[in-house]
Symmetry: C2
Subunit: 303 residues, 2 copies
């Protein structure tokens, strides 16, 4: 099997792998995200070590953003305007390309995770689906018409505006740009700020989870109305909370109120709104899949 590299470049940790798919990973490393020089240096060191066992045909990177994904831009593959200290204007692909002398391709962390679930996980072969991550921050990616969602930029779904009843929930939201956008109300950071304890310390029966499901369901309803996905995958740390999925599903049904007359959202919603199958590995495996796709070995668009 040809070997490929995958990098999940997250705001708090990096994951690097070498292999060809979930059942064939020969090396894996995780380390915290510190400065760009140190962090990217560790990734380069990892792949340099792996080159001793044989060639690596290409590397895919799934990164936090915003990213420049325009192949015609001189800043292609750069993190652009992130508020994360030190990381603005960071070239993610240059150092790996120099080491490997092989194709290095990049997409958002959420589009890459979506690709992983599309190739090997909860959305295999589904041409229209959305992958949301509800964690420290909120983002979404997905596949539409068989390809990842790109456009003017890439999706920034966390910043969509949803109804916010200030009498029911006077919390103003924590987004520095928008206050009470989806991420401002429902990210892990927002949960901690609103309730004074980290999400994982909130009891399962706390009213926090009903409110949390309320906001997630509003966002999913907007995705369903706007894109009509054939499946919705919900990942990220916050979604690991026991009992949250059933709450979200019921509220999506209540908000749609029968208008979308499809079994997927009526009788079969347990199979429509689902967790990722690859868990925390979606992103890095999707990055490997992206590198394979680029090389013509695998993936959407290839017949």
């Amino acid at each position: 099997m040809d070997r490929y590299g995958g990098v999940e470049a997250g705001g708090t940790k990096f994951v690097c792998m070498v292999g060809s798919g979930p059942e064939d990973i020969s090396a894996e490393i995780r380390f915290p995200t510190t400065t760009p020089a140190e962090t990217i240096g560790r990734a380069v060191d990892f792949f340099r070590e792996q080159l001793r066992s044989g060639p690596i045909r290409g590397v895919g990177i799934g990164s936090f953003g915003p990213l420049d994904l325009d192949p015609a831009s001189p800043a292609y593959g750069f993190i652009t305007t992130t508020p994360k200290p030190g990381w603005a204007d960071t070239d993610l692909i240059g150092p790996l390309r120099e080491l490997l002398q092989a194709p290095v391709v990049i997409d958002t962390d959420v589009n890459t995770a979506a690709l992983g679930e599309y190739l090997w996980g909860a959305a295999q072969g589904i041409q229209q689906f959305i992958y949301n991550t509800i964690g420290t921050g909120i983002g979404a990616g997905g596949i539409i018409n068989g390809l990842p969602i790109h456009g003017m930029l890439h999706p920034e779904t966390g910043h969509m505006r949803i109804p916010h009843d200030l009498e029911m929930d006077p919390f103003p939201g924590i987004c520095p740009f928008h206050g009470d956008c989806f991420e401002g109300l429902a990210s892990g950071v927002a949960l901690r700020e609103r309730w004074g304890v980290p999400a994982e310390q909130l009891p399962v029966e706390a009213p926090a989870w009903d409110l949390q499901a309320h906001y997630i369901a509003l966002a999913l309803v907007n995705q369903i109305c706007m894109i009509s996905p054939q499946r919705v995958v919900l990942g990220g740390g916050v979604m690991k909370r026991a009992g949250l999925f059933p709450l979200v599903r019921r509220k999506v049904q209540r908000f749609l109120n029968g208008y979308v007359d499809r079994d997927e959202v009526k009788s079969e919603i347990d199979r429509y709104i689902v967790p990722p199958v690859l868990g925390d590995r979606s992103g890095c495996l999707g990055a490997i899949g992206m590198a394979q796709h680029w090389a013509g070995d695998l993936g959407p668009g290839k017949q």
Copy 2:
């Protein structure tokens, strides 16, 4: 030039054309939407008459919905659950297919209008864009990754949920399913109900238009965050109001608040949020384009 037929099947009027594009329409007819039998009968009569001048290679239909667009379904090409009296479970393509003995293809009115603008109008060759119509009702379609948006069903963008400040606007909304969804707050019907006069009778300087721009801008911000379109086309009767486009553009910029760092939404928004070029003809011309595309003569996906 081969001749194709286009049908715009609207809730208040039907338009039928024969030709091959905006500069080559040899016949056109408009008539009110009454009962299915009478209305579809008039369309069949029109095309039967046109067959005297030569063959028609195929017909495209852009229709109000909800529609069954699943080619594997026995109800493919039917209007399904519409509240419009008499029109539920109406077969739109059967009678034309029987007459013409040629392919008859169908999509939503908004996807068809989007296709018209993509082929010959305000979004020529743009692989990711959204077409909204703000009229009696509200809908959206578009092109993503070079193809119309389909999925579980088709978009029902009018039913997305947006913030609604009841102190600023105590109007409860008119959507029978959701109350104050986007369509419930900002459709032509909602405007008339809220202000007591039809939209076209509201003075240009009325506060109604500021509120209207507010809701449209919130919906566009959600589309921009979720899909990142390269252009947004805004059609429909309500958008013909003088001064509404600049209000919407300014509010989109204010709501995004610099987060999406792109010239399109910063310095060049006049070219980013635009009216349709084909005006009221987008839908019917797009239907002709869809028929041509199906026959392999033209359109997205064909290389």
